[in-house]
Symmetry: D3
Subunit: 136 residues, 6 copies
């Protein structure tokens, strides 16, 4: 299995609901360093997994809807606990949609699996990985 990974980041505010979150129930924030890894069994005719430039642009567009926002006020996330795990899945699903729209180019239909990792600090991270054509 081949993979390529591109990195970007967002800076957001949010609060988390539930006593399990302790002080993170207060309005606070985070920088999330986001790694998008795209995987496929065989390379395309150019010898690549996907156009890495387009992958980076697609990731940036997905993140633009979250960047410099208070996630508590983002309609697409209403009623959800925007944990790091949840956000990893949210980015995953949005990149799958971008692939299906053709934003990563026609060769990107060959992408089989993806992993989205969000580092929230030097000591904590969360990720979501799955099949691109799975029951998203």
């Amino acid at each position: 299995m081949y993979s390529v990974t591109v990195r970007d980041h967002i800076m957001i505010a949010h609060s988390l609901k539930g006593p399990v979150f302790g002080p993170a129930q207060r309005l606070h924030g985070a920088t999330f360093i986001v790694d998008l890894e795209l995987k496929r069994s065989d390379l395309d005719p150019d010898g690549i997994v996907v156009d890495i430039g387009r992958a980076g642009e697609a990731l940036r567009e997905v993140l633009a809807g979250l960047n410099y926002q208070n996630l508590d006020d983002v309609p697409a996330l209403a009623g959800r606990n925007t944990t790091t795990e949840f956000l990893a899945r949210f980015v995953f699903d949005a990149v799958v949609a971008a692939i299906r729209r053709g934003d990563l180019g026609p060769g990107a239909v060959g992408v089989e699996q993806m992993r989205v990792t969000l580092q929230e600090s030097h000591v904590a991270a969360a990720a979501y990985e799955g099949l691109v054509n799975g029951p998203a």
Copy 2:
């Protein structure tokens, strides 16, 4: 598959037995930066893999038995070659036991897989990954 990762570290002395270890047969030491990754297919009702605070505490407790020790003198490791690979598995098994005792909270029973990675320098690491409910 979702995952969360927490990081901690230990500083230990030890020696390794067998000519394959060359100069590491002498008493020396290491800082191991330890990453504990916990994985599950679905998030719990709070939208998390596991209470990350409790995961960090559980890891710290597991590591406390090793930290600032000469591993050659730790009874639980007697007769074992405390290679980085072996220690990754030792930490894995101890975290599984902590989950079963409920140290990570009742929601942690949903954790299906784990990966424990020990970086011993900027150029070398070892890991153990497996099922939480496998034949530990």
Copy 3:
């Protein structure tokens, strides 16, 4: 000149006032990875710059007043633009006060200079460095 550095982090929300900040004028947030470097010309009788355990605790206490907060609502920061540069200086001054109170131990009076660095992402950081006994 000798130095020791300890690392911790905070996760905060805030907004910045002024058109130069563009989208960061909106309420958003950041993880700041904070490095505190303490410097002195000669080591103390124990062969150290400062008790690194106490230095870490003092940094944690300073950061506790900011962690998991919306900085726009923190009285001590009222009316200030909590830029990364400003926060580096704020932490610097608070650590100087902690040294003067004796929180880092009596040996810490030998600390001559400090540098506080806040990484806000993998591509941006700010710092403040100065004399400990300067006109703080």
Copy 4:
């Protein structure tokens, strides 16, 4: 599954053929930080995945054929687009051959899977992972 990882690097020039590569069609270059991860289900009698010293030497020998070269002029790569993905596979295959030759010692026959990751910058990487005894 256990694993060990060793890191090395190469500094090469090359050009990539095809409009998808944009400015990378020009002769340019890269530092690739190379991580070789070797995996097996059980440790050998010494308690290791593989002799980490020999693994590092084998990786260095494989990379020596590429290091400080213009890959456009390397006969073994003639007619190939030396993308990061392609190079990850090239290193993978060369390490498999080294294992089969016995360069990593007799215990290395127990290695079941490998992953080769090439970081080309702080924001981009590629990898190839597969079975060691698969249809290489």
Copy 5:
């Protein structure tokens, strides 16, 4: 002294002249991860060292003249050994010129010192630091 740092990177080919360079006399290449640190004694009225967005853009423009190039063919570098040290100074001088042209905004005239660091691998780097208004 306050500072802000922004990071970017370039991927170049080049060769170095002189037996001291050993195999680096051949045409090869490098990824340089470039950190630009800008320093001043006091913050501007917005509470910043410099508009970090403009600083990042200015760095990107300076690097654009080098990125994806064979430095042996860049007229501005003709007859020079493009060592990592030399390139750090080249970037430094180009950023000073950008500040003087006003590319970083009028507030950037307050920048007193800068440091440009180029990491060429995980084990090697070079830097140039100096006064902005020195005899450039």
Copy 6:
């Protein structure tokens, strides 16, 4: 001021004397990632601070006397508390001696300042910096 930095590491056992060290009074160990930064005002005729290959070799030789040792038993360190700060200075002095012996080549006489940094974990480091021709 120009600088070049090379990185290497050691893995050692030791114990520290004095109640300030708490659990580190026990025999334990550390991996120290060592950065040697060499500085000078002007480049030599080859356009470099120093032959980086020779600098790396000199650092490796200095570290070889410590690597895979129990520092409590190293005669050159007898009676000393081998704190991270102390070891940074020890490496500094040994590199100065290597420069004076000509181990880094005749051009290295131009090196004016050095900084030696030892990272002992992802959250702690120590350093020593000074003039090469100072009263070592």
